[in-house]
């Protein structure tokens, strides 16, 4: 049976543009596979007297790169790697061109003409995984690293790449094993003269474990936000200037702005970065009672956006507030009712026209039209994120598979706690604890009976 076939070939040489499509300062092409050096050699001519094939690996080599027709395409820096000391674990090369979609496209054609194959999506990472260069959770992190759009998202992915998730999970697994071992002790060694853990002690250990799993799960919520953008809703009465504020935050005219109240009938979603943190900003239709069908739909969507957002920015026209603060106060209460867990920010807009009279504590005053005070809002949003206790956490769970396993482990732990509370016999409680171990094991590696026994033998004197 040719099992290798199932994978697609791994003995050919692949090529792809490694940098994002579009105009950047640089375009990097990556080549990986046994013929990497040879294929590069067909297109690349190193400057100086030492030809490319005689250059040392991991050393930058300056030279010229030829288009498929043999004409000079660009001046490039080439970097060669020899297996297994490379990202993929294979012979490979990286070529830095000047950033231009034309150059990147043409260079790709050159390399393909020389014998490389265009890589499939994720093929470099898959090769790295299959060559034992990274474990599953690291491979997942690479995918995240590539997709990360902001400095904070990048940091999460990078920490994970270095194995912090594996490490933290290993610790959690060890604690779980030790707790389970305490329970197993009284099952397998009931005849031994050792002290068995009391139910209270087990309960306390279970509670600790649950807290820990819950904390890790919280970092997932944050990790998710950092990766995809913190969902932030701009809300408020019609014509409070929400869309103008959106444009101010994005520093461009994106949303349709007009003085006619209720111009925004749909939600508009945009991303912007503040203090290195990515936000996913949702502009919404103004909230007011209305009979107009289209607008009512829009309002329902606003409500939905408010419910989903981690941060709700309530934009208030200072003029309206000064006339009567009550509608704003009602709206504020409404937001809280919609999403009690959300973080709410009160912003008085149109400060260039009127200053709010006795604004509530913590409210921000700005003018979306002139841009005055907008950077304070950005700072406040970024600060809220960085103040989250999970933000600085060494381990941020950012992959959905890990979060799902943690959630399943949390369920099993709570069932174990239930069983313990009901006074069920230890072997039944152990079933749930072993389930929890199985779930954590799906991230870290299997837990076997030997681990439990080793934990017992290292701590208790067994043997009559």
């Amino acid at each position: 049976m040719d099992y290798r076939h199932a994978l697609g070939q791994t003995d050919d040489t692949i090529v792809a543009v490694a940098t994002a499509v579009g105009q950047g300062a640089l375009a990097v092409l990556r080549v990986s596979g046994p013929r990497s050096w040879e294929i590069v050699n067909a297109c690349f001519c190193a400057a100086g007297s030492t030809p490319w094939l005689q250059r040392s690996p991991r050393t930058a080599v300056f030279g010229t790169f030829a288009a498929p027709d043999g004409s000079l395409l660009d001046e490039v820096l080439a970097l060669g790697f020899l297996a297994p000391a490379s990202f993929t674990g294979e012979d490979s090369a990286e070529l830095s061109f000047h950033g231009s979609p034309y150059i990147a496209r043409t260079a790709l054609s050159s390399l393909i003409a020389a014998g490389a194959r265009l890589a499939e999506p994720g093929e470099f990472t898959r090769r790295a995984f299959l060559n034992g260069k990274m474990d599953l959770s690291q491979a997942e992190a690479v995918a995240d690293l590539i997709a990360s759009e902001s400095a904070a998202g990048h940091a999460v992915a990078f920490r994970q790449l270095k194995g912090s998730v594996s490490r933290r999970m290993d610790e959690l697994r060890t604690e779980l094993i030790d707790t389970t071992a305490l329970l197993e002790l009284e099952l397998d060694f009931s005849e031994e003269d050792v002290e068995f853990a009391s139910r209270d002690r087990l309960m306390a250990l279970l509670t600790d474990l649950q807290t820990e799993v819950a904390q890790l799960l919280e970092t997932f919520v944050l990790g998710q936000a950092l990766k995809e953008g913190v969902p932030t809703a701009l809300l408020g009465a019609p014509n409070a200037g929400k869309s103008t504020l959106l444009n101010a935050l994005l520093r461009e005219e994106r949303a349709l702005v007009s003085a006619v109240p209720g111009t925004t009938r749909d939600t508009v979603e945009e991303r912007f970065t503040a203090g290195g943190i990515l936000f996913r900003l949702v502009d919404t239709a103004g909230i007011r009672e209305t009979d107009e069908t289209v607008e009512r739909l829009g309002i329902e969507r606003s409500q939905e956006a408010a419910r989903r957002a981690a941060v709700q920015v309530l934009v208030v026209d200072a003029v309206v507030w000064n006339a009567d603060p009550l509608p704003t106060q009602n709206l504020w209460a409404q937001l809280e009712a919609w999403n009690p867990q959300g973080h709410r920010v009160l912003v008085f807009n149109k400060a260039d026209q009127e200053q709010p009279v006795s604004p509530p504590e913590g409210a921000l005053v700005l003018s979306a039209a002139t841009g005055a005070g907008v950077s304070e809002l950005e700072a406040a949003l970024a600060q809220w994120v960085t103040q989250n206790p999970a933000y600085g956490a060494d381990t941020v769970v950012s992959h959905a598979r890990h979060a799902a396993a943690l959630r399943a482990a949390a369920d099993s732990l709570s069932q174990a706690e239930n069983a313990l509370r009901t006074g069920l016999s230890g072997e039944l409680v152990a079933i749930d604890l072993r389930d929890a171990l199985r779930h954590i094991g799906s991230i870290t590696g299997q837990v076997v009976a030997d681990d439990l026994l080793s934990s017992i033998f290292s701590r208790f004197c067994i043997g009559k």
Partner: protein, 621 residues
Amino acid sequence: MLDSRPYDVIVVGAGHAGSEAAAAAARLGSRTLLVTMNLQTIGQMSCNPAMGGVAKGQIVREIDALGGLSGIVTDKTAVQFRMLNRSKGPAMWSPRAQSDRWRFAEEWRLQLEAMTNLDFLQDMAVDLLVVQDRIVGITTSMGQTVYGSAVVLTNGTFLNGVLHIGERQMGGGRAGEKAATGITERLVELGFASGRMKTGTPPRIDGRSLDYSKFEVQHGDENPSKFSYSETTQPLTKQRPCHIAYTSDYVHDLLREGFDRSPMFNGSIQGTGPRYCPSIEDKINRFADKDRHQLFVEPEGWNTVEVYVNGFSTSLPEDVQVKALRAIPGFEQAKFFRPGYAIEYDYFPPTQLGLTLETKLVENLFFAGQINGTTGYEEAAAQGLMAGINAHRKVHGAKPVVLDRSDAYIGVLIDDLVTKGTEEPYRMFTSRAEYRLLLRQDNADLRLTPKGRDWGMVDDVRWARMQEKVVRAASIRSVLDAAPALPAEVNALLESKGTSTIATKGRMAQLLTRPQLELADLLPFLELSDEDLADHEALLDAEIEIKYAGYIAKEMEHVGKLSRLEETPLPANLDYASFKALSMEARQKLAAVRPSTIGQASRVSGVSPADVSVLLVHLGR
């Protein structure tokens, strides 16, 4: 004189593994020869005079359910019976019997002598005859060549056995018996890897020299049960007690004085000993803060005065043993029959075997028992039974039979051995089983007797009894499911058991799921026949199936999920070394074990879920 025709199956060794192997092969119809160095020591209990215990008791029940003999021999020769872990759930209940050492061995011999297809030979096997990677017979120390189509090696602790007492060392397979030589050397020549293991045993004492008034007494169960499902044995009507004594700091100090002459600490013992059955010197060395250790004073039989000091296994010099033991209250005048000793012996890492216990290197050669790195009579007997059955089947062209981890502790045992190997003498624990709730001592017959019947190990009487139990348990369950629980009738009971009363009519089966209630509490409200009420096994089965239905379903679900992996075969000729995606450790271990399925591969130590993903990717799943 031996039969001049070649045998179907030759079993070398007549301990627990060898006896079960020979009995099984002979019973299935193989012309079988049992070769042992000493026909007077068939079925010897070399260590403690007891069978069963937590997890081990379940194994004896399984052996019995499959038609093996250990359960029957134990029942007929027990001096005490206890069901351990009674206070826990039924999955933890574990039968244990204290045995009469001499009667136990005698009963084994009589059972074997009753086998028509079984011949005996007292001699030492010193060489194996192998032709083209296939075993064809053995040579004995008397120069005899015996031909056989299959050979089961159950050499126990005899292969190059060395006894240690203090600074003294002597060759031997057991106190007073010489070691076996030749087989290890031959196997290594054939390409087998071998290793060294160590175990120990405590002193035997003259019970007349002990002051029992200073011990705690431990009686057997008031209503003892038994091991065998068959009606050929009966529960004990009288029993002998055991006693409990304790060491002290002073005793530990005396023992420590001998440490410089201890083979454990001065490096003369190289083999790995079991962590769960340490010598007394190991215990006080590793757990220095523990100021006393429990000792069990166990009778060696009905009439003998010899006692076994369980917990005082030691290889310290004899003078130190005497001095320290006599410092224990009750042992002041103790007279030694025999000092404790440690024994080192050869074993063959069991990853060299397939799941049938046939070696991968030599066809039709099977290993069972301590030669595979296990410890314990029960573990040995279980392997002997399966090796005997599979040797017979191999010789007769029947397909191999293997128990899964969800079938039996025996399945867990053999899968662990051949998949993971073992670094220390392997003993069964319930925590080794993934499906502890399914593998209970009460349902071993329901799990295994149908298989034993298929294989030809189960007679009509046993088979009929099992079927009767199944039918009766089902009918009891349906009575419980149908019987109404009326507030007026049951609330007084519920109150007295400290559980909440019911306001509306319910069903008895529902009440039974409450932890505070047992089936016995509900019997007065149920219309069961006298036959039902007399069938305690069927009642228990019905009770457990209802009471633990939720958890049992949970475990069944896991079995179902994993069976997909267990049924995904791995090609036998897979070149693991070329899988760069596998960790180096996984590559080496998988190449050595050559698992037959993805499920087995996932249990090889050092193989991570990522490694399993790689295998699945390569298989194109």
